[in-house]
């Protein structure tokens, strides 16, 4: 039995060990950190000290004083101020909106690529992933210029708005700027899984649907769309999860209105130097994202079991 699985085991241990060391262990360390007190100068309150005279490490935690080292206070603090919950809700909202806009924009594009001539298909896919070849931060900075008050884009929009009597707008440092940039950054992650799915569709199914009386909309809604759902789910996960935790984009484009939960977490670690609370925020973010994905999967399964009645 072991011999039979030896090959499997051999090829699966490097990624397993890798994930164990660099994901599972840090996650556990973070859970530990979330239960402790911040140190005086950042970091965590140490659990031990080195005796200067002997050079020995002495553990300070005892059966009697462990409450001075471990606490659930960091979690209760989360509920103490509504501003944290609001920030969570807002971040989920931004991520959801980004996902939705990406889906609406990416679907027709992915469909066109999948249905285009084999010869130019690879070129079109290449164009979709081309932005990855320039640095992420450079691309975000580019949006600072595009959305800035003196850019040709801003001036052109304001000129058009002026024609219909609307006062000039500024775009930078707003939720609008954050969403625009989030969509831009994540669009390829939606296009690629959708393309991979749509490209495999059996086109004779569309012929059959049409033959049996389905018009163009019905052919899409009853055949193409349900068959593309795995691609939609994959794309949505690839956009939603990174968009939820992002901090660079709201940092640079969001101003005070546009900050997200990622900014708060970053702030806890780098500015407030409150690692335990930063850990709590991270854990809650991860757990709620997983919970949401699980809920979506349940709803998805229930709706497919119900058939298309």
């Amino acid at each position: 039995m072991f011999k039979k699985n030896l090959g499997k085991w051999l090829i699966s241990w490097p990624p397993t060990v890798y994930l164990l060391i660099f994901f599972a262990v840090p996650a556990l360390i973070m859970v530990g950190a979330s239960l402790r007190f911040p140190g005086d100068y950042g970091g965590l309150l140490p659990l031990s000290h080195v005796d200067e005279a002997t050079g020995r490490t002495i553990i300070d935690v005892t059966r009697d004083n462990w409450r001075d080292f471990f606490t659930l206070e960091n979690y209760t603090r989360l509920g103490s101020d509504a501003v944290y919950l609001q920030l969570f809700v807002k971040s989920f909202g931004y991520a959801a909106l980004t996902t939705l806009i990406c889906l609406v924009m990416a679907y027709p594009l992915a469909w066109l690529i999948a249905r285009s001539d084999q010869k130019i298909r690879d070129l079109l896919v290449l164009l979709v992933i081309l932005p990855f070849w320039s640095n992420f931060l450079v691309r975000v900075y580019a949006w600072m210029i595009i959305l800035g008050p003196n850019s040709a884009f801003t001036k052109a929009i304001n000129l058009l708005l002026g024609l219909v009597g609307i006062a000039p707008q500024t775009f930078m440092f707003s939720p609008f700027a954050v969403i625009v940039c989030l969509v831009y950054v994540h669009l390829p992650f939606m296009v690629l899984p959708l393309y991979a799915n749509l490209e495999k569709h059996d086109l004779s199914l569309l012929d059959a649907a049409q033959d049996l009386g389905a018009n163009a909309w019905q052919r899409f809604w009853r055949v193409t769309w349900p068959l593309s759902l795995p691609g939609v789910y994959a794309g949505a996960a690839l956009v939603f999860i990174p968009a939820l935790g992002i901090f660079a984009v709201p940092d640079l484009l969001g101003g005070t209105d546009g900050i997200m939960i990622g900014n708060l977490i970053k702030q806890q670690f780098l500015e407030s130097r409150d690692w335990p609370f930063g850990s709590v925020l991270s854990i809650v973010l991860t757990v709620s994202a997983i919970g949401l994905a699980g809920l979506a999967a349940l709803i998805g399964r229930a709706s497919t079991r119900g058939g298309d009645e």
């Binding site: 009386g213 009853r222 068959l227």
Partner: protein, 362 residues
């Protein structure tokens, strides 16, 4: 009036003429087959009937109305696709209900109708299964039930049995014949399998290079192929080069190249010297170690066995005549206790009645 009337239909793809001025009419309740090799235009013609291709010229009259430019979803014509094209995300019942939903039928009515259709194709127990959970034959039946659900005026079948193995195919052929009788809907069937066409059809149109070579009942198509292509395509056929020696009203004399004089049925529009081909089915040729030479009405030659193909029920003997010409003869292995009558290089004699074959003028 014919249910379907195709008039001078033409379809070109660039320089290639896929369907070249085809006219034919199909009656209500008929099982009509378009038969031909791949690339002969039969599938293109079917796709024009379904509406997936627009003809470049001509008319398609369905119940007297020209539907040539009506899109597929608006035609009372449904198709059973070669790959079945069942919707993989829908249950069997939902697949069958699809055309009824598209026709906006009442949900309660859809439910009873789907149940009836499932029963018709003996799949009542399988309504909740997904297509990939069915066998090939079952999928085939779902595809047929789905295409019949809305009771189309015309059912198009595009090589529907080609994905099945030989045994299942024969069984499905019988089911198709019975189903067609039962529902009384006109079937237009496309196949490249001549055996299937002969077994199923009321009438067959043999197509080649975009044209109809011969349109007739199966017995005539097989027994009296109109030209060399049909004779060669349908079944096995000896095609012997010959020229007319003497015409007559009852029979005529021809000279088979390098073999000799033979009598055959008179052909229309030929005269002494007309060149052509004698088409002769292998099963109509007698073969024996020795045959009486001077039987009336029989053509008689000597040769030796060049090759033989043992096929179980029959054996095909390829007989080399004295001048090197090869003729195929077929002999049933029906005699008990005997599997094979001759071996390679055995001297044999062959003979056929004058009306066994017929002369195709060039």
């Amino acid at each position: 009036m014919a249910l379907l009337e195709i008039r001078n239909i033409v379809k070109r793809f660039g320089d290639f003429t896929a369907v070249d001025n085809v006219s034919l009419s199909i009656g209500a309740g008929e099982f009509f087959t378009l038969l031909g090799p791949s690339g002969c235009g039969k599938t293109t013609l079917l796709r024009m009937l379904a509406g997936f291709e627009m003809p470049d010229g001509g008319e398609i009259l369905l119940d007297g109305k020209n539907v040539a430019n009506v899109p597929p979803e608006k035609r009372p014509v449904h198709t059973v696709f070669q790959s079945y094209a069942l919707f993989p995300h829908m249950s069997v019942a939902d697949n069958i209900a699809f055309p009824l939903k598209m026709a906006k039928k009442d949900p309660a009515q859809i439910k009873t109708q789907v149940a009836e259709l499932l029963e018709d194709v003996r799949l009542s127990q399988f309504g909740n299964r997904l297509p990939h959970e069915l066998s090939g034959g079952q999928r085939q039946r779902v595809a047929i039930a789905r295409a019949l659900a809305n009771r189309p005026r015309l059912l198009l079948l595009d090589e529907p049995l080609s994905a099945l193995d030989a045994k299942l195919r024969e069984q499905m052929q019988i089911e198709l014949i019975n189903l067609q009788k039962e529902v009384g809907i006109t079937f237009v069937y496309v196949t490249h399998d001549q055996g299937e066409a002969l077994a199923l059809s009321h009438r067959i149109a043999v197509m080649n290079k975009g044209k109809v070579e011969q349109l007739d009942i199966p017995e005539k198509i097989y027994g009296f192929p109109k030209n060399r292509f049909v004779a060669d395509f349908i079944g096995q056929c000896n095609l012997l080069e010959a020229k007319v020696v003497e015409t007559g009203s009852e029979r005529m004399k021809i000279e088979i190249d390098g073999v000799g004089i033979a009598e055959t049925l008179p052909a229309a529009g030929v005269q002494a010297g007309t060149r052509g081909t004698l088409a002769l089915r292998p099963e109509k040729i007698k073969i024996s170690a020795s045959l009486p030479a001077d039987v009336a009405d029989e053509v008689h030659f000597r040769g030796k066995v060049h090759d033989c193909l043992y096929l179980g029920d029959v054996t095909i003997y390829i007989v080399e005549l004295e001048n090197g010409l090869l003729v195929e003869a077929m002999l049933p292995n029906s005699a008990s206790g005997q599997a094979k009558f001759f071996d390679d290089n055995d001297a044999v004699e062959i003979a056929w009645r004058f009306d066994a074959g017929h002369f195709l003028a060039e």
